[in-house]
């Protein structure tokens, strides 16, 4: 068990900066997830912690020990890889015991530990199978057993579930959580899937373009995103953004007007700001009594309806003339989350209100959050 501390970690390749001045303190026994879009530097950050890549600048400490220049084998960590990376020429026993045998443990101790690890991931009785004879989930469990058998100070998991099918992924997700509870070890987990990040972690570290955006518990990232990137990345379906300008009595965009006191929110008149509101915080005006503090209603047209079973997602256009953008939600579009039995059809004219308590304000130039409720 160990704490992990990154201080000013930067990794520059010839033409790109993969990780930029990363500062992060991970506590003993914590489950921290690095999340971000592909190529954001989350895997590179993990590789610098593992020692597979040396950072260009900065220091890495594990349990208060500076390991920046130590080789991976001396860092007391274990890693589970995205492509599972079992040694194809060794059977399950040899794969799991590889690290122990390298460290010259006694045969008895090796056997005992391998058995224990195999027990935890429910692999007993498969010791002499070759990786090629196993299913994806079994291989993944072998990889996890290989990691836990050495009792490492910290686990690094680089998208360990990415190559599994959807059903198995959900199953392994709960297994990993159970594992974390049983072992009580520090786990650093990398994923681009924010659903995994939300469900498993104690804290999420959201990374974009090599820069740490926010480190906070999942719900805090969801309810109080530090900036526009986090707001858009966390949550599915993602947040609606409306670009506009602060005026004397609130916010004004081409299609909407939301009244509030700019001074209270710390915005100056004329400042370009973005309003963010999650699809579940947009309501039809006829249901206005469900909303604590509704905004003034504004008109929209139903463009597309997507029933997903437990809810209905409806894409609204503020105006019939707005062109639905081909790439994501554009200006003038609004996604709304409705009860499955809501009477609504495509082409309807509707009035919608926003829940003032869950309206986020962002500075448009910097993207930083200004406030999370009006």
């Amino acid at each position: 068990m160990a704490s992990v501390k990154l201080e000013g970690v930067t990794k520059r390749y010839e033409d790109v900066t993969a990780v930029n001045n990363m500062n992060l303190q991970i506590e003993d026994g914590e489950f921290v997830t690095f999340v971000g879009p592909s190529g954001c530097g989350k895997s590179t950050t993990m590789e610098t912690i593992a020692g597979l890549t040396l950072p260009t600048e900065g220091t890495i400490e594990i349990s208060g020990r500076d390991v920046t220049n130590l080789p991976p084998k001396d860092r007391g960590i274990a890693m589970v890889f995205q492509n599972i990376a079992l040694f194809p020429h060794m059977d399950v026993y040899d794969n799991i015991s590889f690290g122990l045998r390298l460290r010259k443990y006694e045969q008895k101790e090796v056997d005992r530990r391998v058995e224990e690890a195999a027990d935890i991931v429910q692999l007993t009785g498969m010791m002499d199978r070759m990786p090629s004879e196993m299913s994806g989930g079994q291989r993944q469990r072998v990889a996890i057993a290989r990691a836990i058998v050495r009792n490492p100070d910290a686990f690094l998991m680089d998208e360990p579930l990415a190559n599994l099918d959807a059903e198995l992924r959900v199953h392994m997700r709960t297994q990993l959580q159970r594992l974390h509870r049983e072992l009580d070890t520090t786990i650093i987990y990398v994923t681009h899937d924010q659903a995994q990040a939300m469900t498993m972690s104690d804290r999420i570290a959201v990374i974009n373009s090599g820069v740490l955006q926010q480190v906070a518990p999942p719900l805090e990232c969801y309810n109080e995103p530090a900036n526009r990137f986090v707001a858009g990345f966390i949550g599915s379906p993602s947040m609606n953004f409306i670009e506009g300008e602060a005026v004397a009595d609130g916010f004004e965009s081409v299609y909407t007007k939301i009244e509030f006191d700019p001074a209270m929110q710390g915005v100056s008149t004329g400042q370009e700001i973005t309003v963010g509101v999650r699809p579940e915080d947009v309501h039809l005006e006829r249901n206005v009594d469900q909303v604590g503090e509704p905004t003034r209603a504004f008109a929209a047209v139903v463009d597309v309806i997507e029933p997903v079973g437990k809810e209905v997602n409806a894409y609204l256009l503020f105006d019939r003339d707005v062109e639905a953008s081909a790439e994501g939600r554009g200006e003038g579009q609004l996604l709304i989350n409705l009860e499955p039995d809501t009477a609504i059809t495509e082409g309807d004219d509707v009035q919608v209100v926003l829940d003032r308590e869950n309206i986020h304000l962002f500075d448009r130039a910097s993207g930083d959050a200004i406030g999370h409720s009006l």
Binding site: A50, L52, P71
Partner: protein
């Protein structure tokens, strides 16, 4: 071939249960065709026959051209020395298996073979070890100047080996005081080093190239996993990358072994030809050629004996290579 056609006719005439289609087919040869024409007609109506015929012709051709020299060596070896002038093409003029014993009694030929075997083994081990390190660097690391450096390594193998001979011979004949405790004469001439050092260097680039292509195909994740589990980079190379590249390693090893074992130029010039001076098997064979007489039957017998170790090695290794390739293919 034409015999088959007539057989078919005979069968159809004698067998009462023959069906109409077959009768129609047998009617055709009634056209007045020559043997060659009839044969060609059969080939056209049944091209499979033509393919099979060509296959056998080609196979027999290659088998004869590759195996006949060995057979001819055997014929020579079995022919008694005084009947050598009467030897035929296919049969020995007499039967004298004693030649295979004589080669060991007139000369310590086993020592020559042992010398060669040892030199080839050391060279193979050295080439595989150095080649693995170089192959790892060229195949798996990305660094400035990688391609020019690789080209430079490969270029050395394009040089004619003769170009290296004079400087190397001078060098190996030089007395180096430092070596005196190790080598009695203080020079490398007449030692196995004089042969295996230049030959290893000459055959190294090819092995580097083969190993490089194999090592570069091992996924990075496996090496990372090994390093996290507790190996160094070099440990990961020899515990994970090399075993997974077994077919490539076997190929490079067999090629190097055979090349060094069979090599003529350096082998004949870097020693004085005495078995105690680590002269290789080739020198042994040439020793049967005296000033007044050439003992062709003994030379032939010695050649056959000398080929045996390599032949066995190739058969064994080839099985490994093939099995390695197929298991790899199934796993993916």
């Amino acid at each position: 071939m034409s015999g088959d056609a007539t057989d078919g006719e005979v069968v159809s005439e004698t067998d009462p249960a023959v069906d109409i289609a077959e009768q129609a087919a047998t009617e055709e040869p009634e056209l007045d065709r020559g043997i060659v024409e009839a044969w060609a007609a059969r080939m056209i109506s049944n091209p499979q026959l033509a393919y099979r015929a060509t296959f056998y012709v080609a196979t027999i051709f290659f088998l004869v051209t590759t195996l006949f020299p060995f057979y001819w060596l055997l014929v020579l070896a079995l022919t008694p020395r005084n009947s050598l002038s009467e030897v035929g093409v296919f049969l020995p003029a007499g039967f004298n298996p004693g030649a295979f014993i004589e080669i060991f009694t007139t000369l310590p030929f086993h020592r020559y073979v042992f010398n060669s075997f040892l030199i080839a083994t050391i060279a193979t081990v050295a080439v595989l070890f150095v080649g693995s390190l170089a192959g790892y660097v060229f195949g798996r690391l990305d660094f400035r100047g990688r391609n020019p450096l690789l080209l430079l390594v490969l270029v050395t193998s394009f040089f004619p080996p003769a170009a290296f001979f004079i400087p190397l011979n001078r060098l190996f004949n030089m007395n180096v005081d430092v070596l005196r405790p190790l080598i009695s004469a203080g020079s490398l001439y007449n030692t196995p080093y004089a042969i295996f050092i230049p030959l290893s260097a000459i055959f190294l680039p090819l092995s580097i190239f083969i190993l490089m292509t194999f090592y570069s195909q091992i996924p990075d994740g496996l090496e990372d996993a090994a390093r996290v589990e507790g190996t160094t980079r070099i440990g990961a190379l020899f515990r994970v990358i090399v075993p997974l590249s077994a077919p490539g390693v076997a190929t490079a090893g067999v090629l190097t072994f055979i090349s060094v074992y069979n090599e003529y130029f350096f082998s004949s010039l870097m020693t004085d030809g005495q078995p105690e001076s680590w002269a290789p098997m080739l020198e042994g064979i040439l020793r049967f050629q005296g000033e007044f007489e050439v003992l062709y039957n003994l030379m032939a017998a010695a050649s056959i004996v000398a080929v045996l170790p390599v032949a066995i090695l190739v058969v064994v290794a080839q099985e490994k290579i093939v099995s390695g390739l197929t298991t790899g293919a199934v796993k993916e």
